[in-house]
């Protein structure tokens, strides 16, 4: 299994904060002043960005829950991690 995301373990940037109100999950980055809204599945991956969990572990867990093909899950997880990365929400730990 190869992920098309960076090697390492993603970690939420400490300055980024999350606010949950009802069904809305908003992540705010003070440095850029941007707000990102996440759905619950994206939020589940966001919570796994703890600097200790690898993308491979995320994919395996989602596969176990969903019974979906690993290639599909891998692509989706890679995409959301790339989105987090581009948005400056996470950093990567070795």
């Amino acid at each position: 299994m190869t992920l098309s995301v960076r090697q390492g373990r993603p970690a939420r940037r400490p300055e980024v904060w999350l606010r949950q109100a009802g069904d809305e999950n908003a992540v705010y980055t003070p440095s850029s002043g941007e707000v990102f809204l996440m759905n619950e599945t994206a939020l589940a991956i966001w919570h796994l960005c703890d600097g200790a969990t690898s993308p491979k572990e995320m994919v395996e867990a989602v596969c176990e829950v969903s019974n979906m093909h690993p290639d599909i899950v891998e692509e989706d997880v890679a995409r959301i991690l790339s989105d987090f990365d581009r948005a400056g929400l996470i950093e990567w730990k070795e």
Partner: protein, 248 residues
């Protein structure tokens, strides 16, 4: 005004209609299992109003749910987690074993992570709380019939974290197990099955003293302090099969 963007993991993971299974003219045949007759009646009426859904059997406890499932072989079973006389999770496991084509949606009184994991491990396709709107229950019945897996969104994060944690524990357990010799694995498997020194010695045709030495080595390599702890180590990490397989 800050810029707002949406980040979603929904392109395919949560897209509706995945793995669609053709629904015949007769619609989705449903078994409804709940101790409360008023709840069963209400849900039956609501589902009966849908053209493609039909309640074909009811059960008030777990044993009856299993026997009704075997009798009518429904497409979908809505099973209350707290059924008396064989709880909903146990009933789920039995139905999946005896009527494998039946998809099961477990209904719980409240969000409970242990019940969610147990239900999924027992073979359930979904989990809903009874606080959900009836419309959601209707859609959930259709979704599990299509082959989708339904998990309350708020429970997904903790569920994934729990699975990752459990997998790490199992990897660590397998790593520790790899330090054991073949004979020590045999001893550990017997310990996990409750054998005492004499039993281990007799089974492996070795002296009780040799059995004791092996046990001490096993405890040391696993980093546990008693044979009870060693047995718990095997049980908690669900590695008895690996143990038996690698010892033979």
């Amino acid at each position: 005004m800050p810029e707002v963007r949406r980040l979603t993991l929904d392109s395919r993971c949560s897209a509706p209609g995945r793995g669609i299974v053709a629904i015949g003219d007769a619609g989705v045949r449903i078994l409804l299992a709940d101790e409360q007759s008023l709840f069963r009646e209400a849900v039956k009426v609501v589902l009966g109003n849908e053209d493609d859904l039909e309640v074909v059997a009811e059960a008030r406890d777990g044993v009856q749910a299993v026997s009704e499932a075997e009798r009518v072989r429904p497409d979908v079973a809505l099973i209350d987690a707290g059924l008396p006389n064989c709880d909903g999770v146990s009933a789920t496991a039995l139905i999946r074993e005896r009527v494998p084509e039946c998809r099961i949606l477990v209904l719980a009184g409240e969000e409970d992570h242990r019940t969610l994991i147990d239900a999924l491990e027992a073979g359930a396709s979904g989990y809903l709380t009874k606080e959900c709107p009836l419309g959601e229950l209707i859609e959930a019945a259709r979704a599990v019939h299509r082959g989708e897996i339904l998990i309350p969104p708020r429970m997904l994060g903790p569920l994934l974290r729990g699975l990752i944690s459990r997998r790490r524990d199992q990897d660590e357990a397998l790593r520790k197990m790899s330090r054991l010799t073949r004979r020590e694995r045999e001893v550990l498997a017997l310990l996990a099955e409750g054998a005492d020194n004499d039993g281990i010695a007799q089974t492996l045709v070795i002296s009780p003293q040799t059995a004791r030495t092996h046990i001490q080595n096993v405890l040391g390599k696993l980093g546990v302090h008693s044979r009870l702890e060693a047995a718990a180590f095997v049980r908690q990490n669900d590695i008895l099969e690996d143990l038996v397989g690698s010892a033979t």
